[in-house]
Symmetry: C2
């Protein structure tokens, strides 16, 4: 309770910034109003340095973007100033304190803290999916929604070193208008890496760099006519963007062995699969099923679109090679660094049959390479120098440790559930007794855990019986210091839901 901190303009405000988050409007608007009021009243004196927005966000239980936006808005309005290396400070002279305003703390005010954000907690996973970018409702402290590595694990120093080498060595033309297929250095590095690690058979001229797996699907949707067959469990986001591009999807039942090609509907031009680690149920496509899919492609002229979304993260046995290596002329492999490095880099790739390259490039836009050349060159160096391998190995150990903890904690505390799909990836399926899935998702939300149910991934037109109830638990996202608490909260929620 260091109110004195505010009146000492030289001091950086710590975690004790006092704000009254009350009144109508969005969280951002409420926060802006509270900060403005703190400056206007003189409680925040000119020159006072505000806490970094991430600390304030953590303390208030707000999204960092909300706080960053509020700061930016107040800078634009002239209440605050922001300078590189000096942080965000209360502006000098911009605001005259009102007569009589001082350092007093108003009655009824509350100190910021996790508790103060609790009025916004308890947002369900439905809101989590529909909500803010990144998928996490702002006040849910534990994020177990699948699909994202822990952002704190990004190898900043190694990436910067690669950037320095790459930018120093780059030819001048790298800063001109680029090849829409992507930098040749990166396509070259990817061809070698994917051959070595994933069993891909290709050459650099059949690789097209893009902005990520979603971008790849959008481009393919404009190139390969629908309908496409898709797994009956999969990312609604992917189905949605295919539909938006005019490609209808037809579900094919996923069982323990993956997709049964015997059930592929007729008349489809492509089938979108996750053969290494079915998403989200978690099994590999069994060998005879793999052969059948390729037979189907060869016989019908259909295309296999292989989403190799987490092929590098396999823990308990030999990696499952890609289908692409068995039929390079009938398969499009899609990959990205979003799970291995960071979704912030916006680099993905397609490994294409030769006849598709020109069409995909035309769909991409001859003049819009999308991915930055400097990032592409940095990733090429990162791959060729071995830094990527080192990072993946380190993350594999890290993820495996988290998975083991999840499995052990659940086995001990909630032995009624069964954890499956854990041989690979960044997520597991917690199978639940029939009829308890929605209750478990709701209980998790009440315990501050954002997590999704297996049913959220089911194709709306999937026929037959659904698979078991379950939660899809992404164990890679929470920061290390919160992982234990996240598991505690998950266990408490599961016990509550199963006992109800």
């Amino acid at each position: 309770m260091t109110a004195g901190g505010w009146s000492d303009a030289a001091e950086v405000l710590g975690a004790d910034l006092h704000l009254e988050l009350t009144g109508a409007g969005s969280r951002r608007a409420v926060l802006i109003r509270a900060l403005r009021e703190a400056v206007r009243s003189g409680r925040l004196e000119p020159g006072t340095r505000l806490p970094p927005y991430r600390s304030l966000a953590a303390d208030l239980g707000l999204a960092r973007n909300t706080v960053a936006d509020a700061y930016a808005e107040l800078v634009a309005e002239g209440w605050l100033t922001s300078r590189q290396g000096s942080g965000t400070r209360v502006a000098h002279g911009a605001v005259a304190p009102e007569p009589g305003a001082g350092a007093g703390i108003g009655a009824g005010s509350a100190w910021a803290g996790v508790g103060a954000g609790s009025a916004w907690a308890g947002v369900g996973a439905g809101a989590a999916r529909a909500g803010v970018p990144g998928g996490l409702p702002e006040a849910v402290p534990y994020d177990l929604v699948q699909g994202k590595p822990d952002p704190a694990a990004f190898p900043r120093a190694a990436w910067l070193a690669a950037a320095r080498r790459a930018l120093t060595a780059a030819p001048h033309e790298a800063f001109g208008i680029g090849d829409p297929r992507g930098r040749v250095e990166l396509r070259h590095a990817l061809a070698g890496y994917l051959a070595r690690v994933r069993g891909v058979r290709t050459s650099p001229d059949r690789i097209v760099v893009c902005s990520g797996a979603a971008h790849a699907l959008r481009l393919l949707a404009r190139t390969v006519p629908g309908p496409w067959a898709v797994e009956s469990y999969g990312l609604p986001f992917h189905r949605g963007l295919l539909a938006e591009a005019g490609v209808l999807t037809r579900p094919v039942a996923v069982d323990e062995g993956g997709v049964d090609v015997g059930r592929l509907p007729g008349g489809v031009g492509a089938v979108l699969l996750t053969p290494a680690h079915q998403f989200p149920t978690g099994g590999p496509l069994l060998p005879d099923r793999r052969a059948s899919v390729l037979d189907w492609a060869r016989e019908t002229g259909g295309l296999v679109v292989e989403d190799d979304y987490d092929g590098e993260f396999r823990y308990d046995r030999r990696p499952v090679g890609v289908l692409q290596g068995l039929a390079p002329d009938r398969t499009v492999l899609i990959g990205s660094v979003s799970k291995s490095l960071s979704p912030a880099l916006r680099i993905g790739w397609m490994v294409l049959p030769a006849p598709l390259v020109d069409e995909v490039v035309a769909a991409k836009g001859e003049r819009e390479p999308y991915s930055s050349a400097t990032e592409q060159l940095t990733l090429a160096d990162f791959l060729v120098s071995g830094a990527y391998d080192r990072h993946v190995r380190r993350m594999r150990r890290h993820h495996r440790g988290r998975r083991d903890r999840l499995v052990a904690v659940l086995a001990e505390r909630v032995p009624r559930v069964r954890v499956t799909g854990v041989a690979a990836g960044l997520h597991a399926v917690v199978e639940l007794p029939a009829g308890t899935e929605r209750a478990a998702v709701g209980a998790a939300a009440r315990h501050g855990v954002a997590v999704e149910g297996l049913g959220d991934y089911r194709h709306p037109e999937a026929g037959g019986a659904a698979r078991a109830d379950g939660l899809v638990v992404g164990y890679a996202t929470p920061p290390e210091r919160l992982y234990g608490a996240a598991l505690d909260a998950l266990c408490a929620a599961l016990r509550e839901a199963l006992d109800a």
Copy 2:
């Protein structure tokens, strides 16, 4: 003629790699065959380091990508190896020399050099536009097609320093799934910079970062229904991508004062303008015309889309502020770093009226920020630290020097032409006697100069008389050492065309 260079495996091959570029197929295929043959015959011994692909490209008169692709292909095939820091070398053991093959040079062979590429020279500007990415046919040595800064001018060291500062200071969440509007730090920096330098009135929450001006137009085309009015002279590429997105364009006559709003067709939802420096004719939109455009927007509810493509490069008088600052609620400002820094970075922005922000973000894709967060943070630092201002000032001096040279050389050697539109930007219009434009473009091609005619930019449905014949000369692209030769060739071509 150092054939000995090949047999000394420790030596780096200089510019004297001997290759027979003969036979059928693409340039890439011919080059691959020649390199393969050189290895197979033993003329290139295992361990020999090949010249950097850019030197070989320059020597052979080939595009760098062609040579880089050929190298990559041969690495994939096992003929060559490539290692960071060690360059590309002939593989050890991969290929057994054929008996009897030695260091002899076959009869009829030609040494590589600019001359050897001349069989592919003389490609006209029509091919230049339709041709390879980047717009330049591979063997045209002088690139005076507008739109690109000299790639050698990219400020590598300053950019790397900004990247280091930005990546070191970034919050962890920067490596998570990003805000589809773009990083708040960048939107904040842009709001401040654009206000200061261009007179933009906005706040960070009304800025959406995108992959470049073309990406911005694609997103707007999905948000603002057509038809749009466009200037009767403008980028065919922009008209094309609007058409592809289903937006018809209606030309409005451009005269010396810009677009006359009295001629705006009825029923258009938006007008796409280049008010600071009409593209490509080069004048600013006159003050009363500016006021009329805004009146039109306010009266009809129409939107002004302001392409501020080179607003920072103004030489002889005060900068022309943006229209956006006069009517932030009726104007979308589009900008990018493609001309000020490099098109390789793939960062552009839209400054939007508040009600459009959500629609544009929805069109962009909530889960696909496109621009890399690390690049965005680097650019934010580059702006806030003043490095961007320093670079722009340096480039402004540099471009002005080139413009002055162009004007002086033409005044001296081809006094019959008139150079206009030179107060700003990276290009000038060389006005020609009526009926000589196509001849001038053709003569330029024969002299090794890629350049476009004013007619290439005219809207196909533009009514009335065309403006004067002319060439649109981009003076920013050639490397410094070639600029004098490019001007010599341009003058020779013009004299030839005008004397014919």
